[in-house]
Symmetry: C2
Subunit: 178 residues, 2 copies
């Protein structure tokens, strides 16, 4: 059985939406799609507001309240029947996120056993056939085939098979027709 590792933030969980919600609340300003295209949020936001972005990420509840990406639950469940599915999230970058991330997975993806959850840093440590991730740096270091999940910051990145959403994941791995 082939193994697929799946990233959490910006793939399973809509972290960006929560950032933008809090940013709007605190500064009464929107960050536009044009400002985000091809750039990380940190690059699109004034540097004197970076501390506030850091505070969002480090707050205990940030990762607990994220929306699930559309179709992620249904497609993950279907993948789980045909592949070994692991979650691989770079949680070590934000140690305050451990508890919230674990709880979020249990709530939204209860069919994934805890033994298939990995909190790591560098994803070159992940042994799997595929890694679905929005971060090209992680995909480059991964030893299997990296699948780039589209996010605002990676729209110009080349060199990987790309999925734009979970329906694309479904098509790629389960061969479902449109």
């Amino acid at each position: 059985m082939k193994r697929i590792a799946v990233d959490m933030d910006e793939v399973m969980a809509d972290a960006l939406a929560e950032f933008l919600r809090r940013y709007k609340r605190d500064f009464d300003e929107q960050v536009s799609e044009e400002e985000l295209e091809g750039r990380r949020l940190w690059e699109a936001v004034r540097t004197d507001r970076h501390d506030v972005l850091e505070e969002y990420v480090r707050s205990e509840d940030f990762f607990a309240v994220l929306d699930v990406m559309p179709d992620a639950q249904r497609v993950m469940h279907a993948l789980h029947d045909k592949y070994e599915v692991y979650i691989a999230t770079a949680a070590m970058e934000v140690p305050t996120s451990f508890g919230a991330k674990f709880k979020w997975l249990g709530e939204h993806f209860p069919f994934i056993p805890p033994s298939h959850i990995v909190f790591c840093g560098d994803k070159s440590i992940i042994s799997a056939d595929y890694l679905i991730d929005d971060n090209p740096r992680q995909l480059h270091r991964f030893g299997g085939e990296g699948i780039l999940y589209t996010a605002h910051h990676n729209v110009n990145v080349q060199g990987f098979r790309r999925v734009n959403n979970w329906l694309d994941v479904e098509k790629m791995f389960l061969g479902n027709a449109d």
Copy 2:
């Protein structure tokens, strides 16, 4: 550069000693070496006391106060110069341990970057050349070469290269003479 993944409990950290300390405190009884030989602690202790053992593991401070195994810091530091060293701990079995384990590593092994720390369940997910672990089940599932670190429960296990302590690890990987 070859990569070595290292387990925490019973390899870097003396979890057994802390179990036995608490057991002695609560029941005023020792668990003898004979009782532990070739068995897990859970098998050596009366079943009506298993709940208490579970409580120890799930208490917030358990993994924070563990002693470092003799020579582990010095040898890990030397390994770190010649190998890619990762920590791989089955923390998903005890989600309350995340914070304490991360802090313990930062305190006792500050030269290991957080990006090289992995909290996982099933260690078949670890991509490394070697895994040093006391758990034969994890070594069997691991894809590289498993090195069995001696612990009371695994003394009768065959089929792996074995290290009895960190001086053996040093000899095996750094070739230091006696």
